[in-house]
Amino acid sequence: MSRLPDYYTIWHKAGHYGLRVMAALVLVFLMMPILVIMPLSFNAEPFFTFTQGMLSLDPDAYSTRWYQEIVDDQKWRIAIRNSFLVGIAAASIATVLGTLAAVGLSSPFMPYKRLITALLLSPMIVPLIIIAAGMFFFYTQFNLVGTFTGLIIAHAALGVPFVIITVTATLSGFDRSLFVAGLSLGASPLKVFWDVVIPLIRPGVISGGLFAFVTSFDEVVLVLFLAGPEQRTIPRQMFSGLREQINPTILAVATLLVVLSATMLFVLEALRRRSARLRGQE
């Protein structure tokens, strides 16, 4: 759209540039909050606004003291450890079970496919507060509330739909005759699955696992209801920080999380391209 058509009147041109301006404004709206907190997290003062010194780029107005505080504060260190522990465990469960199920679901012989798919995807639709309340009632009976096991199970259930969606998408381009060929040569279904299917759908599996990890890593409602003080995760710690005493340490944590999600985004994009290439669609 480098050159506008000659038949465009002045009004068409105004509309054309107006659209550009609007799109730019919306992008600014999307990015600005995230971009603003990054420099603010280096504020030497405990304020949430740019000081005179920061605006005049005075090096003394900037500091890494809030990052130091994360490192020094045991609560944050435990929260970071917990977040990774729960996230990795939950994503592993969701990925293993979800990938197996996706293989079954994409078979043309699968009975009750619509019903079962709807059931397995339902954790994505039901509001978190309802899931949290229900899990609280149910898990209490098994003494799972306030334990890592309970939290991991809960987060794994949340991650399952993402694994199913991504792996099923990868499998849609999968040649099923490869599976049948493996079976006809005498391999067990599990062996065919492991040696033939998995290598071909690996990008989808990995991105499904990443989705599941991010879901758990970001999740706070279930943590609020199901976790005890020992299972505090990063979002939980941020939640209480925002409610009780708010200081720029939270901005420093937020900045680190933005960097993490940017990394995640690029890994996922690379995986998506690789997956498309493997299926010969690029």
């Binding site: 038949y7 992008l27 603010l40 509001p127």
Partner: protein, 409 residues
């Protein structure tokens, strides 16, 4: 061509059955897991909204004896005595507080009566209590002499009840068992408010998302991919981070207020945070990618030459857009709108953090009843209503848009 005999048919059937079983076996582990980890909890919650055994477990005999009571005048002396004995037991094993909460829910004001009576009877002599417990109980508080109190105990003792659903829609049973409006209308208003806020947020995301998605779909693939990063990065950023960012921006000493002060537009910081405005603003920001992504996916598939053709033939751009482009982009628009609406109706975190008192939504009240007032049954009833609402919306979504249009990233 050789003809097929019954043997072949039987073989084929057996083979089909085996294939079906094989496919199903792959799904079994996850199915079992989801049934335990997710479906059972949701079912428990639905069940909990009509089931409350607390009182029935605390005073089973009293309730059994109350069955025979007509509801007029006082129950017979044996029943009241039995209750007095139960009160002493509960005062000593520290369960009288739970009874107080439950009865208070059926008849407001009873909590203190039950608690003070429990204190009074805690050290009563067993033999004396068994002999004239009724008299002792009536002496503790005059409200024990009122039939309404005993009716409240009886109704609180029902194991299965629809009363929480009635409360959840601002109705209640009066003393005669008729359904009447409650004095305080809270929940209907709250549902309306939640739906109103969700509608505003959906409208705003449409208004902001449509031009952006349109521009991206017209741009060259390289530009579109580049711009996509700016949509996906917020989408991938933790929603707590985004909520934090809005708190940092809107605070009294935050960036927006400082800028306005500096520009001389205001003389003192204005209240931007902890109200409905900040909730709607932050949620619009958080949910905008859910609008842009399906819109963009649909718009990318629309051939730009349709619009060019219309304009070159003399249509003005607005007319061409309205008659040609809008109908073609409608699937994306409705997918995004329903998605944003469904998500925002059940939203909890952002209203909880930036909502203050007037930005609270239905989820926040459910959390309040779960964590603060400990009225779990009411929380379950409100949650069940919300769940039904979401399922209806989702059914509409599936019917008119199709879940296949949902793509991630």
């Amino acid at each position: 061509m050789p003809s097929l005999n019954t043997q072949d048919a039987a073989n084929a059937r057996r083979q089909l059955r085996r294939r079906r079983r094989q496919a199903f076996l792959f799904v079994v582990p996850l199915l079992v897991f989801i049934l335990f980890a997710f479906v059972a909890p949701i079912t428990t919650m639905l069940f909990r909204s009509v089931y409350n055994p607390t009182v029935a477990e605390l005073v089973p005999e009293t309730l059994e004896m109350l069955e025979d009571w007509s509801g007029e005048g006082l129950p017979d002396e044996a029943t009241i005595t039995r209750f007095a004995v139960d009160m002493k037991r509960m005062a000593n094993d520290r369960t009288s507080g739970r009874l107080a909460d439950e009865i208070n829910r059926a008849l407001p004001g009873m909590s203190s009566v039950v608690k003070s009576t429990a204190r009074g009877l805690r050290r009563a002599d067993d033999a004396e209590l068994a002999a004239n417990g009724a008299e002792m109980l009536l002496a503790e508080n005059e409200r024990w002499a009122k039939p309404a109190t005993w009716r409240a105990i009886r109704s609180a003792g029902q194991v299965y009840t629809s009363s929480y659903y009635l409360t959840a829609v601002d109705l209640e049973y009066d003393s005669e068992g008729e359904i009447i409006m409650r004095d305080t209308q809270i929940y209907k208003q709250l549902y309306t408010k939640t739906l109103k806020m969700a509608l505003i947020i959906t409208g705003l995301t449409m208004l902001l998302g449509y031009p952006l998605a349109f521009y991206m779909s017209q741009a060259s693939p390289a530009t579109a991919n580049f711009l996509m990063v700016f949509v996906l990065l917020p989408f991938w950023t933790s929603l707590l981070v985004r909520t934090t960012a809005w708190i940092a921006l809107l605070q009294a000493g935050g960036v927006v207020n400082s800028t306005l002060l500096w520009a001389g537009l205001i003389n003192q910081p204005i209240e931007l945070l902890y109200n409905e405005f900040s909730t709607i603003l932050a949620m619009t920001h958080i949910l905008l990618p859910f609008m842009v992504l399906p819109l963009y996916a649909v718009m990318r598939g629309i051939d730009a030459s349709f619009m060019r053709a219309a304009i070159s033939m003399g249509s003005n751009p607005i007319g061409a857009w309205y008659k040609i482009y809008l109908p073609m982009s409608l699937p994306g628009l409705s997918a995004g709108a329903l998605l944003v609406f469904i998500i925002s109706v059940g939203y909890y975190i952002t209203p909880a953090l930036v909502g203050g008192t007037d930005g609270q939504m239905i989820s926040n009240i459910i959390a309040f009843h779960m964590q603060v007032s400990n009225n779990w049954e009411l929380a379950a009833a409100l949650g069940s209503l919300l769940l039904i609402l979401i399922l209806v919306l989702y059914w509409l979504f599936d019917r008119f848009v199709g879940t296949d249009n949902l793509k991630l990233g």
